[in-house]
């Protein structure tokens, strides 16, 4: 029976002809837009969470603090702190030398070590939000041993805002196109309904059940949606393959993302399912008014 219904659906699809093609194109565009922005936003999201992990707040200590161990112990107990480590003056100097590389010679010309000792604080999840980080910095500044606090996560938050913006734009553009796609599927289904109304009447007269008459129409809408979704995924994959080698170094330099990832499998499945749902919705909209008639 399903084979039969599918055959009927393909027959209807052929009948919808060029309008069905436009519907498929629109579904392709809407899902490609949705998927493209989704992919960008997901990659930025990865950059954001990677940077959240790497955020450090440096507390420069007053010269010769009394009880470094005590400060460390207290700070580590705060809920907004994941970990805290002491960096002594000598350690700071040697890491400066490492950073300078072949120019490290300048450091040796200094009479004394000019650097301060510090505590490197890694915020916990609670301390990695914009408000949490601000509060943490203020709290660290009030410690009697503190000379100065530096660091912050404002720019990571700006990145996160960009990511959200991209996701919103993608959702907006995708939804608009999806709406157009649904209406086009509705138009193509209505055309089929009209083209086959004579046939439908005969089918009813020989006792064809309503499923045999309507389900194929719904199926042809779903097929349009599925086709559009599959083409969109193919296009996205091709675009990813072509563009990733160009994008990767740029993203690496800009946001420190080592590699650009394609959409995750659940996202691909969700987009394909969305295509089928769009098509089915379009078909349903066309079938709905006739739904009150019943057999006659």
């Amino acid at each position: 029976m399903f084979g039969f219904l599918l055959g009927e659906a393909l027959r209807d699809l052929r009948r919808a002809g060029r309008v069905a093609v436009s519907a498929v194109v629109l579904i392709t565009l809407s899902l490609a837009a949705l998927g493209g922005f989704w992919m960008l936003s997901a990659n930025l999201g990865r950059a954001v969470s990677q940077w959240r992990d790497r955020v450090r707040i440096i507390v420069y200590l007053k010269r010769d603090p009394a009880d470094v161990e005590g400060v460390l112990r207290r700070v580590r107990e705060w809920p907004e702190v994941a970990s805290a480590a002491f960096v002594g003056r000598a350690e700071a100097l040697s890491s400066l030398k490492r950073v300078l590389g072949k120019d490290a010679g300048i450091v040796d010309q200094l009479a004394a070590n000019p650097l301060q000792s510090s505590i490197e604080v890694r915020p916990s999840a609670a301390g990695a939000t914009p408000e949490g980080a601000r509060a943490l910095i203020e709290r660290l500044a009030t410690l009697p041993e503190t000379e100065e606090v530096s660091g912050g996560i404002e720019w990571v938050e700006r990145l996160a805002q960009w990511q959200r913006l991209l996701a919103m734009v993608g959702l907006g553009v995708g939804s608009l196109l999806a709406l157009a796609a649904i209406l086009t599927v509705t138009t193509s289904t209505t055309l089929v309904l009209h083209a086959r109304r004579h046939e439908t009447e005969i089918m009813r007269l020989v006792g064809a059940p309503e499923v045999a008459i309507r389900l194929p129409l719904l199926l042809q809408g779903m097929i349009q949606g599925l086709l559009g979704a599959l083409i969109a995924m193919g296009l996205l994959a091709a675009a990813y393959r072509a563009a990733a080698p160009w994008f990767a170094p740029l993203l690496e330099r800009l946001v420190g993302l080592p590699e650009v990832a394609f959409l995750a499998a659940p996202a691909v499945v969700a987009l394909i399912a969305a295509g089928a749902v769009l098509g089915a919705l379009g078909g349903l909209l066309a079938l709905r008014p006739a739904g009150h008639g019943g057999a006659r």
Binding site: E199, I202, V206, A208, A212
Partner: protein
């Protein structure tokens, strides 16, 4: 079974004081007036009368293509006034109807047309081919199985419609002028097919305006004239 249930099982068609009036703008056309009769299981009845007498109108009431203006229609024990959409489709599946204008699906071959009515009843695929070709052979059309309705002569189209009507081995066959466009030999062949189906246990109501054919069949004859049942004999 109660006596009433036995009657239900035996009476295939029952019309009680049926009137049908068509309204075309301000004009009322009485197509059937006060028609009552019943048809028992296993009967072979001929419905005759001149063109415009109301034969097609009467048959259309029997497969619920239309409803009477007045009166009651029972088919296969069901009151057609109260039948819902799903039950109407089910009723039509247990009938075989040869429409006066054949009503073949235009976009499908003769074979597909006949297979279609088997597919919608969920007949297994292997049986479909065999049964469709049996029906086509019975009406002498197996050579035209792959032709489209537009490529058929009117007589061939009518025989294809007959094949579709008998392929489900219906309990009741309603045939509206199935020999209308056939020459004498072919008409006789089609009659033989219908008689075979009847002998297989199907009740037959056969509408024709060809009075000689009705006489030749020599069975129960119902005669309509101007929408009235004027004779019921045999």
């Amino acid at each position: 079974m109660t006596p009433a249930a036995i009657i239900d099982a035996v009476v295939m068609i029952e019309l009680h004081r049926v009137c049908k009036v068509y309204h075309v703008g301000p004009v009322s056309i009485p197509a059937l007036s006060d028609v009552s009769f019943s048809l028992a299981k296993g009967e072979f009845a001929v419905l005759t009368g001149p063109s415009g007498a109301g034969k097609t109108t009467l048959l259309r009431l029997l497969y619920r293509d239309d409803v009477p203006s007045e009166g009651e229609v029972h088919v296969l024990g069901q009151d057609l006034r109260t039948l819902g959409g799903r039950r109407v489709a089910a009723l039509r599946r247990s009938l075989g109807v040869v429409f006066q204008d054949a009503k073949l699906l235009p976009g499908r071959t003769v074979y597909e047309n006949i297979a279609f009515v088997l597919r919608v009843t969920g007949t297994p695929r292997r049986q479909i081919t065999a049964r469709a070709f049996d029906a086509l052979r019975a009406v002498g059309l197996s050579a035209r199985a792959q032709a489209y309705p537009a490529q058929l002569s009117q007589g061939e189209a009518q025989r294809a419609a007959l094949a579709r009507a008998i392929v489900r081995k219906p309990a009741l066959l309603l045939a509206d002028e199935p020999t209308g466009n056939l020459d004498g030999d072919m008409a006789a062949e089609v009659l033989d097919v219908i008689k075979d189906v009847w002998q297989g246990g199907t009740t037959v109501l056969f509408a024709t305006h060809q009075a000689p054919l009705a006489a030749e069949l020599g069975r129960r004859t119902l005669t309509l004239l101007g929408g009235r049942l004027v004779k019921d004999e045999g």
